[in-house]
């Protein structure tokens, strides 16, 4: 690969932007470079990052998913209620269960998209609202606090890879959950690049009709991408509440925008057919870092939404411009 083609890759561009942004933020507030802040930055990447992997896959296939935060909360809440009801204390089974619920809800999206041939944005807006409404209206609205959260989950999410004591005596640790994120990222990357189902996702995003003609099973691919997004969301829902020790069914509302922003920022095309795991991870990092840095720079959190909105529009404009150039 030549130097210019490397420079043209969206991953390289976003990486350079991240480096420049880090230098700039560090200049404004040197506290940015403290190990504790770095660790918390990594920690903040995990939930958004894992969900973004699912959304990336859906977007490469030419679809979109805005229902996953609702699915995540539904899977998380049902799993916790089941744990209370049975008194089960373990980690693997609850995560498996949350994932399974997410996959089931994802299949619902896939059914409407593939079998009823509806537009993905409308389908997932609808199922998202429906699931969130069902959760709040039928299953419950009460927040589960730390005193009621199952201790195995909390203990699991508290595992640190390494920890330090800062100059101010504060304790900072690098959470082991980052390994889960990296593991999922590697798996999704290998799936997209090196398996036929992954290539079918790209083919379908490029031209669904051509994909059908060449012999791909479009139905299977559609179910695969939406179930993957749903499953990852379900898993992450439970991981999220385990990490913050608080299960609030209202949580994560509006998160779909952040995740889609991150994926687009990472070079994925809103028209489908393009995108990479590495780019998405960079996109997530960029978004989370900007949000976090607004906090340490003492800028009101309401401005975060403005920043996210600007990033979505700017990143989409750049990729749309790039894609139009390709078409022309």
């Amino acid at each position: 690969m030549t130097a210019t083609s490397l420079l043209r890759r969206p991953e390289t561009v976003i990486f350079l932007v991240i480096v420049m942004a880090m230098l700039a933020i560090g200049l404004v507030n040197p506290a940015f470079w403290q190990l504790g802040n770095m660790f918390s930055l990594v920690r903040a990447n995990i939930v958004t990052g894992i969900m973004a992997l699912g959304v990336l896959t859906v977007m490469i296939s030419g679809g979109i998913d805005v229902s996953f935060p609702a699915f995540a909360m539904m899977a998380m809440y049902l799993t916790l209620l089941w744990m209370f009801a049975t008194g089960y204390s373990g980690v693997a089974l609850p995560f498996g269960m949350a994932t399974a619920i997410g996959i089931g809800l994802g299949a619902l999206n896939a059914f409407f998209v593939h079998s009823v041939r509806m537009i993905p944005l409308i389908v997932t807006l609808g199922t998202g609202a429906l699931v969130r409404g069902f959760l709040l209206g039928v299953i419950g609205t009460s927040t589960i606090n730390i005193d009621r959260m199952p201790t195995p989950l909390i203990d699991f999410a508290r595992i640190d890879l390494l920890s330090t004591t800062g100059p101010d005596g504060g304790h900072a640790g690098l959470t082991a959950m980052v390994l889960i994120y990296l593991g999922f990222a590697l798996l999704v990357h290998l799936m997209l690049r090196h398996t036929m189902i992954g290539r079918s996702v790209f083919a379908m995003g490029g031209d669904p009709e051509a994909a059908r003609r060449v012999g791909f099973n479009i139905r299977r691919t559609t179910f695969f991408v939406y179930c993957l997004a749903g499953g990852l969301a379900g898993f992450t829902g439970l991981l999220h509440v385990s990490m913050i020790w608080l299960a609030n069914p209202h949580d994560l509302a509006g998160m779909e925008l952040d995740v889609i922003a991150a994926v687009v920022l990472g070079g994925a095309s809103i028209f489908g057919g393009r995108g990479s795991v590495l780019g998405t991870m960079f996109g997530v990092f960029m978004l989370v870092m900007v949000n976090n840095s607004l906090i340490i720079m003492h800028i009101s959190t309401t401005w975060q939404r403005v920043v996210v909105g600007v990033i979505v529009i700017a990143a989409t404009a750049v990729t749309a411009w790039r894609d139009r150039k390709r078409i022309a």
């Binding site: 790209f202 083919a203 995003g205 490029g206 031209d207 057919g273 390709r326």
Partner: protein, 498 residues
Amino acid sequence: MPPPLLELRHIGKNFAGVRALDDLSLTIEPGEIHCLAGENGSGKSTLIKVISGVVVPDQGEMLFDGEAIRALTPVRAIACGVQVIFQDFSLFGNLTVAENLALSNELRDRRRFVSWRRVRAVATRAVARLGVDLDLDANVDRLPASGRQLVAIARALMSDARLLIMDEPTTALTRKEVETLFRIVRDIQARGISVLFVSHKMREMLEISEQITVIRNGRHAASGKTADFDEAGITRAMTGHDVGDVPYVWRGGSAAAPRLEVRGLAVPGRFRDIALTVQPGEILGIAGLLGSGRTDFALTLFGMHPGYGGKIAIDGVPVRLDTVQDAIGRGIAYVPEDRLTEGLFLSQSIDRNLLASCFRRLAAHGMLNRRRMRAAAALMIDAMRIVTPAGERPVMELSGGNQQRVMMGRWLMTAARILILNGPTVGVDVGSKAGIHAKLRELAQEQELAILMISDDVPELVQNCNRILVMHRGLIVDEIAASKTTEAAVSERLRLLA
């Protein structure tokens, strides 16, 4: 003598009560180039689908190598060696050339994992077999149309093809690329592979094929050795009647000032020093190769190159045409080359498409009068002889020729005095083409329109224009009176420029 590669006997197919194919028989011998000719809607596409197993015929039988095959599925058809290259090539623009070539192989072998080394090896072999040079790592959407077609052909040949069906393969190609394509097709033939070449372009059919089958309205209209056919014969078989061949004669006008007068027109880097006059009732042809500046010249007249140099006068009145609104307001209409992407709203109704440029004229005090609008549209549908049950139907349901008429009708409704047509009959079949030409002559003669016709189709220019200008590298290099020239002479002139 070996049995024919493919034999269709008395094939019939109905779609929702419409007879798409009727008692159609066709024989393709091994290693022959066979042309399937027919107008749009004659059943060509249905026939391709029958041969490739996508559509199951209601009647008739199909024999491969003399053996009857019942219930042909796409998979069976591929196993029999049938490969179709669709008009849109059916490629993945977001994937590399190598992957596009290797994908179907990987799928056929039921792989679960992709080995990029194997993909490369397979692709290298495929390209080598075709004897062409392609960058395997380039994304397909970076390739020109001719490159994409090569990828599609290479892909089709990979799977031991015995019959290659090419659906309108020359539509998006320049003349030079068509020659390259023909060389490749003959090369394929030399390997004993049969080619079914589906087209409606006379010259190409006569040039490439050995056998011709012409179908009309789903029925067999004519067939035989290509050597026994000429253009008129094919046209007669395709349309069922002779298409007139009378050149256009401009009888001269009485107007005091020319309809359009251009002096020293120039847009830097595109064209310069353009001077011409067009009288009412004249049809002026503009010939030239790609990049000759002819399209930019037309777009300048349509107000799309503001800040041009030089003078333009319409009916003796000097005008500036710096916006499209200026141009439309002065009575200039422009029918673009690609009516689909540049002009029509495909999913909207015929009525709305017709009215799109004259809403302001039909609106009294800013309010649209629906009855008046519908009446005006109905009048134009009638005048342009657009074949449709109702003006409310979406434009995309119409055939190419009818779509072109909608586009022309729209501009006529703006009370245009100068009509600029860029490739007026690209992608339009012979019958509709003749209809459009007749309409244009009628408009020029009866409504005293001045028509500028830009075209690559030399016969079209010679037949319909009274004068032809030749543009080359931004300059007018020649002016030819159509009555004093022949197609061959104009073609030769253009060939010398290339």
